[in-house]
C-alpha cells in the first residue's frame, strides 16, 4: 500500500521508500520508517496532498507520495 492510495482522514505507518533521492528529503522532513502519517486534505485540483506527520503538516505531490510504502 502506498501513501498516494490513502483517502483523506486515513492513517498509515511508513514502512519503506522506493526512491532513494526522495527518501533522503522525506526523512529530513520527518517522514521516517515507523512514523504515523494521516492524509489531512487534498488540493482543490486533486494534487498535491497534505499529510500530518510527526506533529506538523506537510504537502507533497501524489507522485512523490507514491514513493512512500506503508505497512
Amino acid at each position: 500500500m502506498r501513501l498516494s492510495q490513502l483517502e483523506v482522514g486515513e492513517t498509515g505507518i511508513v514502512k519503506e521508500f522506493t526512491d532513494l533521492e526522495m527518501s533522503v528529503k522525506l526523512m529530513e522532513m520527518g517522514c521516517l520508517p515507523g512514523e504515523q502519517i494521516t492524509v489531512s486534505r487534498v488540493a482543490p485540483l486533486g494534487d498535491p496532498i497534505a499529510i500530518h506527520v510527526s506533529g506538523y503538516q506537510l504537502s507533497l505531490r501524489r507522485k512523490e507520495a507514491s514513493t512512500i510504502i506503508l505497512q
Binding site: L20, E21, M22, S23, V24, K25, L26, M27, E28, M29, G30, L32, P33, S40, R41, A43, P44, L45, G46, D47, P48, A50, S54, G55, Y56, Q57, L58, S59, L60, R61, E64
Partner: protein, 703 residues
C-alpha cells in the same frame, strides 16, 4: 561599530528565527549579499549584558545542512569555511519546542561540525498547550550545551539568551551525536589528511557538497571526486544512513527528556481555517478576492505618495535650476541624475505596499496554501505552485517579484518564472496604456455598466497573464533541466502576522531596491539624457540661431518659442538621429521617428515614454500633465495630413510595450539573480522579438 563576537542564527523554516533576529537586533540591522551569491544576508548588532557587542547573522532557514535551494546552500559555507569572514564564533540553533524531533536533525548536524553551540528552545508556550513537557535541564545535559527556553513572539527569555551568548564557551563542548566516521571511514580519513580538515563531519560534508562549494579549489574538488570513486562513496546512500542514525540518536534523547501527554486529537483552529481556505470552490474564490484587493490597494494607496514623490522631484529640479548657474554639468546632475533618481523613487510606494502584502501572506502561512492550491495548474505550464507569488507581484513591479523567485528550489521552474514574470503588466506600463487608450478608445459605457476604456485596460492585464503562461509553456520544452522537480513543503500553522516584521520587511525591501536597482537606472538615465541633450556637429547652435531670427521672436510667445527650440533640438539630438535611423525598422509597426525616440528613451524604463512624448510634442509644463500630452498627440498629423495616432498605431504601440523588455532595472535584477548575462540577454531578445511580431500583426489587422 566593530562587533566583539559573531553569532549565527540557524534553524528550520517557520521556527521564529527571523522574529528572534528582530528581537535581538532591533533596528540595528542591514541587508546585504553573501559574497558571490545573491542570497540576502541579514546582519545586525546586539548589545550583550557584559558590555560586549555581538554581530548577529540570520542564516536562511533550512531543514538540514544538505541544501535544497540556493538560499540553503549558504548555511554550510558560512559555518564551515574557515576563510569566510562571516564564520561565526558561536551558533545559536533555534528549535521549535512543539516539533522537536524534526528540528533536532539540523541541530545534530551543526553540533557535529564542532562549533560552539547554544540552543534556543522557542515556542515553549505552544508546546505546553499541545501537551508536551520538556525537561530542559536533562535535555541540556544530554546535549552538553546551554539550552535557553524562549518565546520570541512574546519576547520572553531574551535576556537569558543574551547572557547565555555572552557566557558561552569559545570551545565546542557538545556531546557527539552519531559516529560520523563510521559512515565512510577511509574517505573521511583521506580527505582530512589531504585537505587538512580536523573535523570528520566537515570532511564528510565536503565529500557530499564539493561540486557546489565555492571555497574549494577546482583541484581540491577534483581530488575529492577521485577519492569518492576510489572508496566507492555513494552520496545519497550515505545521506540516508546518516539521517536514520541521527533520528535514532534523537529518539533516544527525546525518550528521556520529553513527555507527550496523549490528548484527544481535537480539531485545531489551523485545520478549521484550512477547510475553508483550501476548499474546492471557496479556496479559489477567496484567493482571487485577496488578489483583487492587493491589486487595488497597490494602485489606490500608492497613487498619492507617488504623486508627492514626483512633485517633490519636479520642485527640486526646477528650484535647483533656478539656484545653480546654467551649464552642462548642472544640467547633467539636475536633469540626468535627479531625473533618473525620481524614476526610481516613485516606485518605492508600490514596492513597499507589494512587499507588505507578500510579507503578511507569508507570515500568516497563507502563501504556502496558495502554492498548495495552484501547484497542479502551474505545473501544467512548466511552472511551479511557488511561481504564483512572483507572477502576481509582477502586476506591481517585476523587480521585487524576480527577487522573490528565490524560494523556488527547482532550477528550471525558477528560470522559467524569471523569464516570464516581466511579461505581466507592471505598473510602469499603466501610464502608457492609460494615455493610448484614452487617445483612441471612446469613453462610453457598453452593456450599461462597463466602461469601454476600462474594459480595454482590463483586457490588457488579462492578456499579459495569458502571454506569460503561454511563453512559460513553450519554455517548458526548450529548457533542459538538470535536476528533478519536487514539491515537499511544510504547511505551517496559521498565525497572526507580526506587524513589526511586516514593517521592517517593507522598509528593507524598498531600501534594497533603491540601492541596487537604483544604480543601474541612474546610470542609464544619465546616458539617455546625454543622448537626448546633445547632437552631432553644430546642429544645436544652428537651431538656436534659427529661432533668434525676427520671424520667430516676433510672432511667437516666449513659451512657444522655448518649446519649438526644445522639440527641434530633440529631433536633432543623438536620440533624435537614432530615432530617424531606426524609422525604417519600426515603420512596418506603424511608428514614425518620434515614436522611435520614445522607444529608445524608454529603454531604461517604460514610463519615460509619456515624458518623452511630452517633450516631443512640446507640451507646456512637464510630463505630469498627461491631458495636455493627450491633446497634442490626438491632433498630431503626419506629413500627409492623416492623424498619427490611429487605432492601429495606438494598439500596435500598446502591444509593443506589453511584450518588449523596456526595463533596465529588470534586466539588472535578472542578471543579479542568475549571475549570467545569457539570461537577461536572451530575455531581451525573445521579448523584443515577440513585441515586434505581435505589434506588426496588430497594426496590419487593425489598419
Amino acid at each position: 561599530m566593530d562587533a566583539d563576537l559573531k553569532v549565527a542564527l540557524v534553524g528550520n523554516p517557520n521556527t521564529g528565527k527571523s522574529t528572534l533576529f528582530n528581537v535581538l537586533t532591533g533596528l540595528n540591522q542591514k541587508i546585504g549579499n553573501f559574497p558571490g551569491v545573491t542570497v540576502d544576508k541579514k546582519t545586525g548588532l546586539c548589545d550583550l549584558p557584559d558590555g560586549r557587542r555581538a554581530e548577529i547573522i540570520d542564516l536562511p532557514g533550512t531543514y538540514s545542512l544538505y541544501p535544497k535551494s540556493r538560499d540553503e546552500s549558504i548555511v554550510f559555507s558560512v559555518l564551515a569555511d574557515k576563510a569566510n569572514p562571516l564564520r561565526p564564533d558561536l551558533v545559536v540553533v533555534i528549535l521549535d519546542a512543539s516539533n522537536l524531533k524534526r528540528n533536532l536533525l539540523l541541530y545534530t548536524q551543526v553540533a557535529d561540525l564542532k562549533l560552539p553551540v547554544i540552543v534556543a528552545l522557542n515556542m515553549m508556550d505552544l508546546a505546553k498547550k499541545s501537551g508536551i513537557t520538556i525537561d530542559v535541564n536533562a535535555f541540556a545535559q544530554k546535549l552538553g550545551v546551554p539550552v535557553v527556553p524562549i518565546s520570541a513572539r512574546k519576547i520572553e527569555g531574551i535576556d537569558q539568551l543574551k547572557s547565555a551568548i555572552s557566557y558561552a564557551n569559545r570551545f565546542a563542548l557538545q556531546e557527539d551525536t552519531i559516529d560520523v566516521e563510521a559512515l565512510a571511514p577511509q574517505l573521511i580519513a583521506q580527505i582530512s589528511k589531504e585537505i587538512e580538515v580536523e573535523n570528520p563531519y566537515y570532511a564528510l560534508q565536503l565529500a557530499h557538497q564539493h561540486e557546489t562549494l565555492k571555497f574549494l579549489s577546482p583541484v581540491q574538488s577534483d581530488r575529492i571526486e577521485e577519492l569518492e570513486q576510489e572508496f566507492s562513496f555513494h552520496s545519497q546512500k550515505s545521506q540516508a544512513t546518516e539521517t536514520i542514525a541521527r533520528y535514532s540518536f534523537i529518539n533516544d534523547l527525546l525518550y528521556d527528556t520529553v513527555k507527550k501527554h496523549e490528548t484527544a486529537q481535537e480539531e485545531n483552529i489551523s485545520n478549521k481555517i484550512d477547510k475553508i481556505l483550501t476548499h474546492r470552490v471557496f479556496g479559489f474564490v477567496i484567493f482571487f478576492a485577496i488578489l483583487l484587493f492587493i491589486f487595488q490597494s497597490i494602485f489606490a494607496w500608492s497613487a498619492y505618495p507617488m504623486e508627492l514623490i514626483g512633485d517633490f522631484f519636479v520642485w527640486l529640479q526646477s528650484s535647483l535650476h533656478r539656484i545653480l548657474p546654467a551649464g552642462p554639468l548642472v544640467n547633467l546632475v539636475v536633469d540626468g541624475v535627479l531625473g533618473g533618481l525620481s524614476g526610481v523613487m516613485v516606485f518605492i510606494p508600490q514596492i513597499a505596499i507589494l512587499f507588505g502584502f507578500i510579507s503578511i501572506l507569508e507570515d500568516t502561512g497563507y502563501m504556502s496554501r496558495v502554492t498548495f492550491m495552484m501547484d497542479r495548474l502551474m505545473r501544467k505550464v512548466g511552472l511551479n505552485g511557488k511561481s504564483v507569488v512572483p507572477l502576481i507581484g509582477g502586476f506591481a513591479c517585476a523587480v521585487p517579484s524576480i527577487m522573490s523567485t528565490r524560494t523556488i528550489e527547482n532550477w528550471k521552474d525558477r528560470m522559467i518564472t524569471i523569464m516570464v514574470t516581466p511579461l505581466v503588466t507592471c505598473s510602469a506600463r499603466l501610464p502608457i496604456y492609460t494615455l493610448l487608450i484614452a487617445l483612441v478608445v471612446p469613453n462610453r459605457n457598453i452593456w450599461w455598466i462597463f466602461n469601454l476604456q476600462g474594459l480595454v485596460l482590463t483586457g490588457m492585464y488579462l492578456f499579459s497573464l495569458v502571454s506569460a503562461i503561454t511563453v512559460a509553456f513553450v519554455m517548458k520544452f526548450l529548457l533542459k533541466s538538470r535536476e528533478r522537480g519536487y514539491f515537499i513543503m511544510e504547511l505551517p500553522v496559521y498565525r497572526m502576522p507580526r506587524w513589526k516584521n511586516v514593517g521592517q520587511d517593507m522598509y528593507n525591501r524598498a531600501k534594497a531596491f533603491v540601492l541596487q536597482a537604483g544604480k543601474v537606472i541612474v546610470a542609464i538615465s544619465v546616458i539617455l539624457w546625454v543622448l537626448a541633450s546633445y547632437g552631432p556637429g553644430n546642429r544645436f547652435e544652428r537651431i538656436e540661431q534659427k529661432y533668434k531670427q525676427a520671424q520667430y521672436t516676433q510672432h511667437m510667445s516666449a513659451d512657444d518659442l522655448h518649446h519649438a527650440v526644445a522639440s527641434e533640438k530633440l529631433e536633432n539630438s543623438y536620440a533624435g538621429v537614432l530615432g530617424h535611423a531606426i524609422e525604417p525598422v519600426i515603420k512596418p509597426l506603424g511608428f514614425d521617428w518620434k515614436i522611435g525616440i520614445a522607444l529608445i528613451t524608454s529603454f531604461a524604463a517604460r514610463e519615460v515614454f509619456v515624458g518623452t512624448m511630452a517633450t516631443i510634442y512640446s507640451v507646456e509644463g512637464d510630463a505630469e500633465k498627461m491631458e495636455s500630452v493627450q491633446q497634442k498627440m490626438a491632433t498630431a498629423k503626419n506629413p500627409d495630413g492623416q492623424p498619427v495616432f490611429t487605432v492601429a498605431v495606438a494598439f500596435s504601440l500598446m502591444m509593443f510595450y506589453a511584450f518588449a523588455m523596456q526595463c533596465a532595472s529588470t534586466m539588472a535584477v535578472v542578471y543579479r539573480e542568475t549571475k549570467n548575462w545569457r539570461w537577461p540577454a536572451s530575455q531581451f531578445v525573445y521579448m523584443t522579438g515577440l513585441a515586434y511580431i505581435v505589434s506588426f500583426i496588430t497594426y496590419h489587422l487593425l489598419r
